[in-house]
Symmetry: C2
Subunit: 99 residues, 2 copies
């Protein structure tokens, strides 16, 4: 299990529209192959900055299966017009669960 | 409840020592006022990059209470020599739990 972290800068004033788009998109992720969880977090220091966390069984479930599917285009249709810049995407693996 | 995300670049070759330091430091966080969870994740694309996630009841539990405590110095003693650069710290709040 790995987690995709997408750092997304939203155009100022479009925060509500972006959040609404992500909410609408939740079923798209839920039905994606290997997708196990999704949540959206917002920066307190920079309120136009969000981080989307998506848990996938494998990196390829994200980079190949999801990005190559028609649902990826649906996802972008819902939110891409709110992006101030291209999202910065990285994958992380848990190495320690302290408590 | 908010989450501190500290992005930490570790000096190449010091990854194991850093991970071990974070593990040793877990009780320091566990006893910190308002601290509810801690985990360490490692980037797949840049293996010397880590993200430490710490859940706090309030931002001030982190920025005032913890950083002002002797335990903060203990924490730094365990890991700071592994840092390649100062950590980038941000706080986020969950705005959507998709599933």
């Amino acid at each position: 299990m790995i987690t995709e972290i997408a750092q997304i800068e939203v155009k100022p004033g479009m925060e509500s529209e972006f959040e609404s788009g992500v909410k609408t998109a939740a079923p798209i992720f839920k039905r994606a192959k290997g997708c196990r969880a999704m949540e959206l977090r917002r920066s307190l220091e920079k309120p136009s900055r969000y981080r989307l966390f998506v848990a996938w069984e494998t990196v390829e479930n994200h980079t190949n299966d999801f990005r190559g599917s028609p649902d990826f285009q649906e996802w972008r249709k819902l939110v891409a017009h709110c992006f101030a810049s291209p999202p910065e995407v990285e994958h992380v693996a848990q190495v320690l669960r302290g408590f």
